[in-house]
Amino acid sequence: MAELIPTIIAKYNYWIYITLMMIGLYAMIAKNNLVKKILGMSIFQTAIILFYVSIGVKKGATIPILEGVHGHGAAHQAVHAADYVNPLPHVLMLTAIVVGVATLGVALALAIRVYNRYNTLEEDEILAQIRKK
């Protein structure tokens, strides 16, 4: 039990992303309004982005841009990896953000089409209309 607390503290970024993700998941499943579901979805995606970015962090490392270096001449001094943050998760998450935007755009377009058709965004009213037909 003694070493449990430090491990929990050492890994707090994982607990954050898990709670954020569960909020998103709950919203998507349980919420009745379609736009709220869309918001839940974007929270869900943002949680995963947070998770990925938190992988790349290194203690005492700066952002992965090499100052004072231009051109690829041999003159520059050797670069050692310890003092730069891991760039790969940032690249991946650039992609995931763009996917999130694209999915959000399409979802909103669909929501507009649904609203034009059923004049409501509440799921239970829509289902009632369908069942009535």
């Binding site: 995606q45 998770f51 992988i55 999915t103 399409v106 929501a111």
Partner: protein, 496 residues
Amino acid sequence: MSQQYPALLVIVPLLSAFAISIAGWMNKRLCFPIAVTALGVAAYSSIGLLFRVMDEGVIVYKLGGWAPPMGIAYYIDHLNAIVLVVVTIVAFLNVISAKKSIEQEFPEKAAPFYALYVLMVTGLLGIVVTGDAFNLYVLLEIAALTGYGLLAMGEERAPLSTLNYLYMGTIGACFYLLGVGYLYIVTGSLNMVDIARLLPPLYQSKAVLAAFIICMVGVWLKMAFFPLHAWLPNAYTHATSSASSLIAPLVTKVMVYVMIRLMLTIFTPEFVFATLALQNIVVWLAVIAIVMGAILALAERNLKKMLAFIIVAEVGYMVGGVWLGNRAGMTGAILHIVNDALMTLCVFLVVGNIVYKVKGYAFEDLQGLFRKMPFTMGAFVVGAMSIIGVPPTCGFFSKWYLILGGLQAGHYGFVAALIFSSLVSVVLFFRIFEICYYEPFSDHHGHDHPPQPMAEAPPLMVVPLLIVAVILILVGLYTGDIVNHIIKFAIPEGLV
């Protein structure tokens, strides 16, 4: 030029999609020819690739010139070579028959439709070809987004059912992404073969187990495996016929391919079947999927929804076959990807023709179709025979391997489910044949009625359908060669 096939395969459709959307604003008549040539080139290069793989084994294509773990690489082995050929041929045949029905339903939006169509095929080809786990997620999203676009173009309930599909699809894709993230944390690499090399010492760790389960749940959600299938029937029913006859045969099958790729390449069979205790549970889940898919299909009174539920049952076949864990089951599953794509394409093209001529796909609209549309219904009979599993057609042969796998693995529940679903599909299809066979005036002796004129769909829609029907029988007869030359090498020796 031939060693550039892997790149040509994906880039030509991609560039032609941009060309189509630009041509859409310049002059519309160019769109269809560009789409057909692009898919023709893709089909040609995929067949060329298949033959190259058959004599050279695995082909690695380094994108951007970087060695695999640094850059992204294509891995083309026997497994995805044959899936590539199926995807390109299905897309090629379907775009030809889609022309007429799109001009009938969305004349002014034909150009963006073709662009989305070709983009979707690019996404699917990319998924099948790529060797990088994260790249597969990006392509998954392309296929999903263009799929939402194509499906939502349908009639008035389409946007709502596509929105539900979007929710489930996004959760699935994000779970897959999370799974890849877990793998990245513990191994540090994103390339599939590289991860497989780094994983063995970590087999016991909880993170790898979690990564596997999350990836599986994500992939199952995308392929509509039974408990997670709620989005499929509505999404495919309310879509336009040409969109659903592209998406229905391909998306679920490519996702099954992704599952097989995950299980065979990243988490090698030793991990999946030895260390994990999931095998029996998943096969029982597949049994439930098959049985429920068949029963729910029985309850439907409209043709497309019934076919959608049959797809859910077919997914149950494939997942069950893969998870049996023996060579016969795996061969049956891979063969079933090929056969099921062709069968579903044949049956959905028939629905497209019927909707084109009769404007309805409920059972009441199908009266007397054998006389009115003999060629379409002839192809429908071949497709139905293949789904039921009658020998000359290919459906029987993959079912044969699946049942054999079930017997060898001693999983009699799976065998019983397969037999049960064949019997149910006999009832399903003969219920429709009865309606189409007996003309509407069937209450008295069929004598005194003028035979209705033959109102067949236009040749541009019927010829691809007949080609698919012939392919169904040819693939059936050539099963021996397909299995011995291609599928035998696709399964690693580790699987007995």
